[in-house]
Amino acid sequence: MKSMISVSALSKEFVLHTQGGARIPVFDRLDLEVAAGECVCLHGPSGAGKSTLLRSLYANYKPSSGHVRVVHGKDVVELGSAEPWQVIEVRRRSVGYVSQFLRVIPRVPALEVVAEPARLAGVPDAEAERRARTLLDRLNIPQRLWGLAPATFSGGEQQRVNVARGFALDYPILLLDEPTASLDAANRQVVVALINEAKARGAAIVGIFHDAEVREAVADRLFEVTAYRRDAA
């Protein structure tokens, strides 16, 4: 299968200047390849660096050294050395990210929050909105909420809006940070179905799934982040 994400010798260490220059090494010389149609589950205890790795794949965190390469259309973009506008383009079309929490934009209604990524990628308004409606409906967000800003929604509702936003465009690469964390069983199953549909259309997926049932339903393999601790053998 075609490799969509290629991580090579990636190291990340945080230096906390406000706390006496404390150094927090997270992982060291980490390698990871993710193919189209594959779902890799980042695994390990809390604090192992799973979220740090996921954020590095989105260029939200900057590598201390090493490379993160992602397929972007016909190109391959190395995120660490790319210009900001290139990273923005990669995020607009190629790499989707579902964070743990929805970053609420004041006043923007849920339907618009979900439709926005598709519109920004050039999908016509009507099609982007149709897609957003389908997703909100599948994720059991009551229609009366669609026109409201998600600021006042419950945690689970906000998370489902967030998931819908992440699936609003058929990104070739999807990064999922605990997409089912605050969801009930029925909605977890919807997310599992969405992930498996994305795999079926060839998306490369990297995710953090604490729920064992979800993990078993979607993950093709586990990736142990702790294997790349500097103190690891």
Partner: protein
């Protein structure tokens, strides 16, 4: 494969809109800004953050040709001439550029509005300055812009001094955007406004900037403002840019000690 999957992505060549090179400006012994260089692409929004006295307003004033730099150049992609040093333009050419291709949103709306001219006049005046003459069309466009910035059409003949601070700021934005500039400069656009009014203004700005594809340089001390508006961020301290990059990267993974202090000092609500 669904119709939404975009299988081909052409990497576009980017022709910069503005390029600053080694810009420095001091006031006697006091440093304004020091050796600042960056490139702004069309449609890109850059945020400049830093505490008061960091030089961010000085930099904005130089970039917007309101202040000459001591050394360094600021080039802009003029419509018919390409990249040109804005401080080498003739005075009339520079004025035309500032009036037509640029917009400047001041922190205090009083600096950017004519307080003794009606709201409609404030917007229409800009159109007339670039050659519009048809009264009906100017008025229609003025009303259209009042609606875009969520000002009630019934206030079109009222003078801005009868408006609240938030309304004045929205009117100033309409006055600046009506000529469809390619670049707007904003100095603390939400400064001095109530928090509830700030959110509305930010959301409005965010929508307009994206919809119109306007590039913007936004100076603020409010990290929430840049998080919402800016693609890229420059952090200034003592006149220098100490860190820059993608907005979320700089805010979520700050490297410079000063940026770390700035980010960690924000109270979480």
């Amino acid at each position: 494969m669904s119709a939404l999957m975009l299988s081909e992505t052409v990497t576009p060549k980017r022709q910069p809109l503005m390029r600053a090179t080694g810009v420095s400006k001091s006031y006697g012994e006091t440093i304004g800004c020091l050796d600042v260089s960056f490139t702004l692409n069309p449609g890109e929004v850059i945020g400049i953050v830093g505490e008061s006295g960091s030089g961010k307003s000085t930099l904005l004033n130089v970039l917007s040709a309101q202040l000459s730099p001591d050394i360094g150049t600021v080039e802009y992609d003029l419509r018919h001439k390409g990249m040109s040093d804005i401080f080498r333009l003739s005075e009339p050419d520079r004025r035309r550029l500032m009036r037509t291709d640029w917009g400047i949103v001041h922190q205090n709306p009083r600096d950017g509005l004519r307080m003794d001219v009606s709201a409609g006049g404030n917007v229409g005046e800009r159109l007339m300055a670039i050659g519009a003459r048809h009264y009906g069309e100017i008025r229609a466009e003025g009303l259209d812009w009042l609606a875009k910035v969520e000002l009630n059409a019934s206030r079109v003949d009222d003078k801005p001094r009868t408006f609240s601070g938030g309304m004045q700021q929205r009117l100033q934005i309409a006055r600046n955007l009506v000529t469809r500039p390619r670049l707007i400069f904003m100095d603390e656009p939400t400064g001095g406004l109530d928090v509830s009014v700030q959110a509305r203004l930010l959301d409005l700005l965010r929508g307009l900037v994206r919809e119109l594809g306007i590039a913007a340089i936004v100076v603020t001390h409010d990290l929430a403002v840049v998080r919402l508006l800016a693609d890229r961020l420059m952090v200034m301290r003592h006149g220098r840019v100490v860190e820059e990059g993608l907005t979320d990267q700089v805010l979520d993974d700050p490297h410079h000690p000063y940026t770390q202090l700035l980010v960690s000092s924000v109270l979480q609500v």
